[in-house]
């Protein structure tokens, strides 16, 4: 217990004396640590991706998941603007080149699977609240160690105007992405700017590009803060502090925009010069990219500025609408308290009067449908329009009558079945049946033999299910068949009567109730029946 505790203490408050007399570290002392722990926690989902890729079904070790994840956060951040977020499919689509570059020989479908997996894990689709949780501990004012849950999201899904779902990166994600953990928006912005200018001046374009990109993320974050304040204002003016906080923020942001605009134009001029003068193609390309990034920054700033300028009027309009919106008699109606609750205990006779009144005026209107006789006649007499979009006419199929190649004719089958229609109490030997068949038709014995062989394995299950009354069966009792055309066993062929009524009743227990009166031999048929139980 003690060593474990000590370890935490060492990190938290390095300047403690002996642990026994240790005064409780105040919340302030712990705050920095907690903040860093939270910042650290935000990176955990990214590390987790690389750790978990081994568990995926398939060989995914070749993909750098954390890299894909960071790229995804980048893309979402850059694609979200004031009103909506980034489109899910679009993000996946734009991730594909990077994923494909990591494993060029793999199947494109796998690339897409990887991109989707990463994005869904950043949203944390599997969890109920679609977020992450980290546990950290702090010391309370009384010195007690308290574990706390830190819940955060990296990419969240928001509803767009048309009911569709968009993605937005959270502040935590932007912080993770930029790597500036626990920093102030404005100061980081200024730092990035200064860095950019210096870098451009020194011609270190690679670093300059990095700094410019960082500046852009910061700008987006700024815009996001403002957007949220405006949205909250639209819902309820009082939810946002318009006396100090927001005006201050707007002033700050306007100053910042003006400042940034100046800086970026200066930078743009510099980079353009660098681009035009650069000898090395690599530098030239990088400078050109930088020009694009800075241009995008300027575009975003212009957008932010116009929103900032609209903020004041929007607040005043919302204040007018919300504060001075007359809440007269109309708002006094509480549908549940005034109508539903009092109506339910009433006698149904009276209650119906109230519900009828509500129904008559609350269901909307229907335009009566009426048919003009003239239209009806016209409509019925109009020949159907020739439809041309159906394509070319189907060619008349050239049908050829297939020759009837059946071995036996229907008449032969009928006579064979008539022959085998044996009374249930008089089974016969196959040899006798064959001889009788041969007398009528030389072909018939073949059919009779075939049917008899079939009867050796009677379709008991089918008969049972269909509730048939009788069933042809054949049993081999060891006697050799003595025939000119056929060899084998001289089967005993007979008819078993089935207890259809009993079977219907027993269908659930599923055991056929044979009424085996048909077996003259008695002994041979009994085992057959037992062996031929229907499939359960």
């Amino acid at each position: 217990m003690r060593p474990h505790n000590l370890c935490v203490v060492t990190v938290t408050v390095p300047h403690q004396h002996g642990s026994a007399a240790r005064p409780a570290p105040g919340p302030a002392a712990d705050e920095g640590l907690a903040r860093r722990l939270k910042a650290l926690a935000c990176t955990a989902p990214l590390h987790d991706l690389d750790a978990r890729k081994a568990n995926l079904a398939g060989e995914y070790g070749v993909y750098a998941m954390a890299e894909v994840a960071l790229a995804a956060i980048d893309l979402v951040t850059l694609n979200m603007d004031f009103d909506t977020g980034a489109d899910h499919d679009q993000i996946v689509h734009r991730l594909l080149p990077r994923v494909a570059a990591q494993a060029p020989r793999r199947d494109p479908a796998e690339h897409e699977r990887v991109a989707r997996w990463v994005l869904e894990n950043l949203i944390n689709v599997g969890s109920v609240d679609r977020g992450f949780r980290a546990v950290y501990g702090t010391f309370g004012p009384d010195g007690a160690y308290v574990r706390r849950d830190y819940d955060f999201k990296l990419i969240e899904e928001v509803a767009g105007p048309g009911g569709s779902i968009y993605l937005r990166t959270t502040d935590e994600a932007v912080n993770v992405l930029v790597g500036a953990l626990d920093t102030d928006v404005t100061s980081a912005q200024i730092a990035a700017e200064v860095k950019l200018e210096v870098l451009v001046a020194r011609g270190r374009l690679a670093d300059a590009q990095l700094a410019a990109e960082q500046a852009r993320y910061r700008t987006v974050q700024y815009a996001e803060t403002l957007r949220r304040a405006l949205e909250a204002t639209r819902r309820n003016v009082r939810a946002v502090d318009w006396l100090r906080t927001v005006p201050d923020m707007i002033d700050e942001a306007l100053d910042h925009v003006a400042d940034r605009y100046r800086h970026e134009n200066a930078i743009l001029t510099n980079i353009r010069k660098a681009r035009d003068e650069a000898e090395e193609p690599d530098n030239k390309r990088r400078a050109a990219e930088l020009v694009d990034i800075v241009k995008d920054c300027i575009r975003r700033h212009t957008q932010l500025q116009s929103r900032l300028l609209e903020a004041g009027p929007l607040f005043r309009a919302e204040q007018d609408r919300q504060s001075f919106a007359a809440p007269p008699a109309r708002s006094g109606l509480d549908l549940y308290g005034h109508l539903v609750a009092p109506v339910l205990p009433l006698p149904v006779e009276h209650a119906t009067r109230v519900t009828d009144a509500f129904f008559a005026r609350g269901t909307g209107l229907r335009t009566p449908v009426s048919v003009r006789l003239a239209d009806l006649v016209d409509g019925l007499l109009t020949p159907p329009v020739e439809r041309e979009h159906l394509g070319v006419a189907m060619p008349e199929p050239d049908l050829v009558a297939t020759p009837d190649d059946s071995r036996f004719s229907d008449e032969q089958l009928d006579s064979a079945l008539a022959l085998l229609d044996l009374p249930h109490d008089a089974p016969r030997r196959l040899s006798g049946l064959l001889a009788e068949a041969r007398r009528t038709d030389p072909e018939l014995p073949y059919l009779v033999a075939l049917l008899a062989v079939h009867a050796a394995s009677p379709p008991v299950g089918t008969a049972y299910r269909q509730g048939e009354q009788r069933l042809l069966f054949a049993v081999d009792d060891g006697t050799q068949l003595d025939d000119v055309e056929f060899g084998g066993a001289d089967l005993i062929v007979g008819t078993a009567r089935l207890d259809a009524v009993g079977m219907a009743a027993d269908r659930a227990p599923a055991r056929p109730a044979f009424e085996d009166r048909g077996s003259g031999g008695g002994a041979p048929t009994a085992p057959t029946n037992r062996n031929q139980e229907p499939p359960q």
Partner: protein
Amino acid sequence: MTDHREAEAAPAQPEAASPGASAGVTAADAADAARLVSFGLQPKLLPARDAEYAELIRRHREDPPFARLADAVAAGLGLVVLEVSPRAGMAVAAAEDSVFAVRMGDYSRRAASDAGDRFLHGLAHLATAAMAFPRPEDLADDGYIGRITVNGVDAFVRQACRRLEETADAQGENTDPASDAPGLEAAWRVYVRRSATGATKDARRLAGSTTGIVGKAVAFLVDSGFLQRTGDEAGGTYRTTARYQLQVRDMAGNAAMAELLELGVVPVTDGSATLLPPDDAEATDLVADAGLPFHS
């Protein structure tokens, strides 16, 4: 409404009162006004989707003589103009004796003959509105969009009925109605007696069950342009439109209140919301995923 009626009775009069405007009203204006009303009769059509509609709405707002003309046309057709705005379009409701009014007998054949069904169908509409606008502020706030589910509405009414049942049980009341006076049966019992759902041969909702009745009400409101379907969960999820809010607030709610007051029932509340989150003990009784919008 009265001024509309007057306008209808003497359409030329208002224009005569303002000589500047009377010169402007032409047959083309009348056609435009009627066109605007005809747009209003298509409740699912929104001005945002139709340029001509939007233009007529704009004209209605900016050109008072034209607005009077359009209102007069509507009044003549037996329509009550609730609001003319870009968000709701020309929101018109049918006056009681209008050809556009919906009658219970046309709505449900069973409701015409069976008193219990008649009540249940009416209650379904009332409960749907109460669920869609749970707090008085929601009904008053033009920007509020309510969300309901069919199962949620049913669970909500059942919960209210169950409370009444428990109260009655606690007081030892015998709520069974006298056989010769079915009309005196307490209304909540009619709802409790009816099954919430039932299996059918073709996997459709059982029409006579309470979810079937609520489902019918909701589907009807969708056709009226009052609700929009958003999903299939919980028996179907819906969100309200501006027109529904107007209709409930300005027409149906008041009419039902007036009827209730006439019955001698005067509900007294302090103006705050009466729908409150349930106690923890009761929370477990709620139907899962019913989506009851209980607000604090």
